[in-house]
């Protein structure tokens, strides 16, 4: 029986993206369609960057968000999300996480990193900040679940923001994960 997919906020609301990053007006249908076709319940996680640095934030890499204050903020958000996850786990439902690859906060397997990035936000297009690793919120969320003795859920990251994104490949990945 399908379970509950806790999805990154921007999967239902591209308005939360950093300016320049919204790939569709609102709901990201390639994910939502697959979830619904396969009977998954959708739960939207908060956008950690939106409430912390706002809508007019700059594009940033993981190091720029890796501060005590942002981690504390992420832990507060994660604690609330894990409360909801707990409700579903106790009801015997499978819970999965859906992040966003390349994101400094929501990356599952790929985040963005550049220890030298600072100051006036100008950098070359296509600069190679993508790196294996998880985003800060995903890390804190997994940490919160571990602290509460919960097993790590299956997780997947949407690859839409990556330069080599391929719609067909992405659909096949999602089908394989949720089907």
């Amino acid at each position: 029986m399908p379970g509950v997919a806790f999805v990154a906020h921007c999967m239902l609301n591209q308005n939360s993206k950093t300016i320049g990053g919204a790939r569709c007006p609102g709901i990201y249908s390639p994910l939502v369609d697959v979830l619904r076709e396969n009977g998954w319940r959708i739960e939207q996680m908060p956008c950690p960057e939106l409430a912390f640095t706002g809508l007019n934030r700059f594009w940033a890499v993981r190091e720029q968000y890796d501060t005590m204050a942002f981690r504390r903020h992420c832990r507060r958000l994660a604690s609330a999300v894990v409360g909801a996850i707990d409700v579903h786990l106790k009801a015997g439902r499978e819970v999965v996480l859906v992040g966003v690859e390349g994101s400094p906060s929501m990356g599952v397997c790929i985040t963005s990193s550049d220890s030298k990035r600072a100051g006036l936000p100008t950098w070359k297009e296509g600069s190679s900040e993508l790196t294996p690793g998880q985003g800060i919120f995903i890390e804190e969320l997994r940490g919160e679940m571990a602290d509460r003795g919960m097993a790590e859920p299956r997780s997947i990251g949407i690859t839409q923001p990556l330069p080599d994104y391929n719609k067909r490949t992405e659909k096949a990945r999602l089908e394989a994960f949720f089907g």
């Binding site: 906020h9 239902l12 609301n13 591209q14 308005n15 939360s16 993206k17 300016i19 320049g20 990053g21 919204a22 790939r23 569709c24 007006p25 609102g26 709901i27 249908s29 939502v32 619904r36 319940r41 959708i42 739960e43 939207q44 908060p46 956008c47 939106l50 409430a51 706002g54 809508l55 007019n56 507060r76 958000l77 604690s79 609330a80 999300v81 409360g83 909801a84 707990d86 409700v87 297009e125």
Partner: protein, 129 residues
């Protein structure tokens, strides 16, 4: 060259029953997709209040940012505790609908004025040119 930003500057706070509708219930997702609205999901009605309260607090913090920046924000359906959470962050009562059917929801969304944030961004772009 980065692709064009395609946000709609429209965000609906949506009761869970319209995002995860029960069999035969009104499904807001195809309507929001068609009308080009983003969604912020409200906590499920059956969550205990200790679970729902911090989630509503986070929803309110995010809505405050959208509202202050001139994005159109509305409520679809209802959620106990939402108004108090919004009031706590200084967001006035938002326009809302408890849609009887898909047609009512489509009509409500189609009657909205253009979002202020979209107009001001266009003005800023025109001034630059």
């Amino acid at each position: 060259m980065w692709p064009r930003d395609r946000r709609s500057y429209r965000v609906a706070l949506v009761a869970d029953r319209y995002l995860n509708p029960p069999e035969g219930g009104l499904d807001a997702v195809p309507i929001l997709l068609e009308a080009e609205w983003g969604a912020i999901q409200l906590p499920a009605e059956d969550y205990p209040s200790a679970v729902a309260r911090p989630l509503l607090e986070q929803v309110a913090e995010q809505v405050e940012e959208f509202h202050r920046r001139g994005y159109d924000t509305v409520v679809i359906g209802r959620r106990e505790g939402l108004d108090e959470a919004l009031e706590a962050v200084g967001v006035p009562r938002l326009d809302r609908i408890e849609p009887a059917n898909a047609r009512a929801l489509r009509g409500f969304l189609s009657r909205r004025k253009p979002p202020e944030a979209k107009s001001s961004r266009r003005r800023a772009a025109a001034t630059k040119r």
